[in-house]
């Protein structure tokens, strides 16, 4: 039991201590603890910087879009799969829709780039075949969010649907019997038996999703980013990376990161207490 505890102390809790860097002016020679305190200077610097608002806007718009579009899809998928009784068709759909989950972020972005390439990409070949002009999808900032969100749905909907399918399988069969006796149509059955049955699961997944609003996946955004679409694709996480690791501005980047973690924590607590009030399910 000791090695794992050491792991958590060293790689999870020690960094939290190190985060005091945000309140200091980091000096390589003096080290983290020897560097002078500067109070909230780094935070002030960040909030006064015009980029703060654009980062916040980009982060929230992207994750808001992802939440709105991405949240219902797996639920619908699971409800539909649940209507299909057994059989090979159901198994195949499940198997195939789950598969993209195993594709790595790098490969996912590679596929996106090959499909949307300005000259030879599949999307533009198709547009040309229909007699339309080519579009430089990844160079247009306006397309960035849609590309991110819909590729994400393509990749994860089948995986998330499995969670809902499990919840659907746990619904008391006598409820279906009762619905049948009452002459409910398939649609009514979904509305009055399925949906209420998986509501606790929906709420929990929602909480987890909202809790991740600020912790948007750095990896994919960073890989999809290019100088042309950066006005919409620079989010807090990618900014921390470029300021901190590429420009070695440690203190400032730590402050930005810390701000992000805090907003995230507050959001999570907020959503959880809301869920507790309006339904019986919460994550703690």
């Amino acid at each position: 039991m000791l090695p794992p505890l050491l792991f958590f102390l060293l790689f999870k809790y020690y960094p939290m201590l190190n985060a005091v860097l945000a309140f200091k002016d980091y000096n390589v020679i003096k080290g983290i603890w020897g560097s002078p305190w500067v109070g909230l200077k780094n935070f002030k610097l960040f909030f006064d910087n015009p980029i703060f608002w654009s980062l916040l806007k980009n982060t929230l718009l992207l994750s808001g879009y992802l939440l709105l579009a991405g949240f219902p899809v797996p639920i619908l998928l699971a409800l539909m799969l649940n209507e299909v009784r057994g059989g090979r068709f159901k198994r195949i759909v499940q198997l195939v829709s789950f598969a993209p989950y195993f594709i790595s972020t790098v490969v996912m972005v590679s596929i996106i780039m090959l499909f949307l390439a300005p000259r030879l990409g599949f999307a533009n070949l198709a547009l040309n075949a229909l007699g339309m002009e080519s579009v430089n999808f990844l160079g247009e900032p306006g397309y960035f969010r849609s590309i991110y969100v819909w590729s994400d749905i393509w990749q994860t909907a089948g995986y998330t649907a499995v969670i809902y399918l499990a919840a659907l399988a746990g619904i008391d069969p006598t409820l279906y019997e009762a619905a049948k006796v009452d002459g409910a149509s398939r649609f009514q059955k979904i509305r009055h038996v399925d949906l209420p049955g998986i509501m606790p699961t929906i709420v929990i997944v929602l909480i987890l999703n909202v809790g991740n609003v600020m912790a948007l996946g750095f990896e994919k955004v960073y890989l999809l980013q290019n100088p042309l679409n950066i006005v919409n694709s620079e989010i807090i996480a990618t900014y921390v990376y470029s300021i901190g690791l590429l420009n070695a501005n440690y203190s400032f980047a730590t402050a930005v990161g810390l701000f992000n973690s805090f907003v995230n924590l507050i959001l999570l607590v907020l959503v959880n207490s809301l869920a507790k009030r309006f339904s019986s399910s919460s994550i703690w």
Binding site: M1, P4, F7, F8, L10, F11, K12, Y13, Y14, P15, M16, N18, I32, L77, M80, E83, V84, I92, V93, V96, S97, F98, A99, F102, I103, S104, T105, V106, V107, V109, S110, I111, M113, L114, L120, W154, G158, V162, I163, A166, A167, S185, R186, F187, F218, E219, L223, V240, Y241, G244, L245, Y250, A253, T254, G257, N260, S261, N264, L265, L268
Partner: protein, 301 residues
């Protein structure tokens, strides 16, 4: 079973039949949308480079050719990357699974002193973290920058896996079993080896698979911690060739310009296939375990 479905068919109203038909249609569309890009990439990787670059591949391979793969095997970066990824996956999975079991099993025992606070200690890291830079500084202080260990240790335990494993141990290895063994004079280590591990094969399979896929697909840690190209995993090589469009150096000097460009384009499809196929081939056989793992995890413990 057969009679039940037959009687259901009779009761099915016109509206229901229409509804079901719509469901089947939409699901078929979903199937198509998910499957098409995958088939397209596979087909492109085994078509002739000329056919790929002139956009003649739509669904099936055109002018079957394995030039892309041949070129791949002659590219040293790719082969080194492949080897590295294998090392990271095997070593990383062993370390991760061992550490996860070491923390998850004690947490599943009610007799553990300070169990509640310990669980908090572990799960809190899920919702709050020091951030990228502070973590980077720790790794740097430990002298792990630019070493293989940087990819194996700092992210070795995923809290989610600990939770899944703990729920499994809790539900399938009852405390009574431990008591019985203790009465028989069985030591804790012996109990672990001859009772717990044999009973835990399903959860071990889940852990191994999840960590292995995670390691194989990871690139972020390599991006920030590694500097020497010889240590790069495949994903990082992939990123450099496909996303940053650095054509694999020195491999095609002898060829004519046009042919070279065509091949460079097709190489990308072959690379994607090579990097993804191992996982996608194994996946249908182990899907059962994945689903199982997720189900265990969704049981609140």
């Amino acid at each position: 079973m057969a009679t039940a479905s037959a009687s259901k068919k009779i009761r099915e109203s016109a509206g229901d039949r229409f509804f079901l038909a719509a469901v089947y249609t939409i699901l078929s569309l979903v199937l198509l949308v998910v499957l098409y890009p995958l088939v397209y990439i596979l087909s492109s990787s085994i078509s002739s480079p000329a056919a790929v670059t002139s956009g003649r591949v739509w669904l099936w391979p055109v002018n079957l050719s394995f030039k892309g793969f041949e070129a791949l095997f002659r590219t040293p970066e790719v082969m080194t990357g492949y080897g590295n990824s294998l090392i990271y996956t095997v070593a990383g999975t062993i370390i991760s699974v061992a550490l996860t079991v070491m923390i998850a099993y004690p947490l599943s025992r009610k007799s553990l002193f300070g169990r509640g606070p310990l669980m908090m200690f572990v799960t809190f890291t899920m919702i709050f973290s020091g951030g990228l830079i502070p973590t980077y500084m720790v790794v740097k202080e430990l002298g792990l920058i630019d070493s293989r260990w940087a990819l194996l240790i700092p992210n070795a335990i995923w809290v989610w896996q600990v939770i899944i494993a703990r729920s499994f141990f809790q539900s399938s290895i009852p405390d009574e079993l431990l008591e019985a063994s203790e009465i028989d004079g069985c030591s804790d280590l012996r109990f672990m080896r001859s009772v717990v591990l044999p009973l835990s094969k399903p959860i071990l399979a889940v852990l191994v698979l999840m960590y292995a896929v995670g390691q194989w697909n990871a690139y972020f840690d390599a991006l920030i911690y590694l500097k020497t190209a010889n240590l790069f995993p495949l994903q990082l090589v992939l990123r450099s060739i496909i996303i940053q469009n650095n054509s694999a150096g020195g491999l095609m000097d002898a060829m004519k310009m046009v042919e070279r460009q065509q091949l460079a384009e097709q190489l990308k499809y072959s690379l994607i296939v090579v990097a993804t196929l191992p996982v996608l081939i194994i996946y249908p056989f182990v899907q059962r375990y994945f689903v199982q793992g997720m189900l265990v995890g969704s049981v609140k413990g």
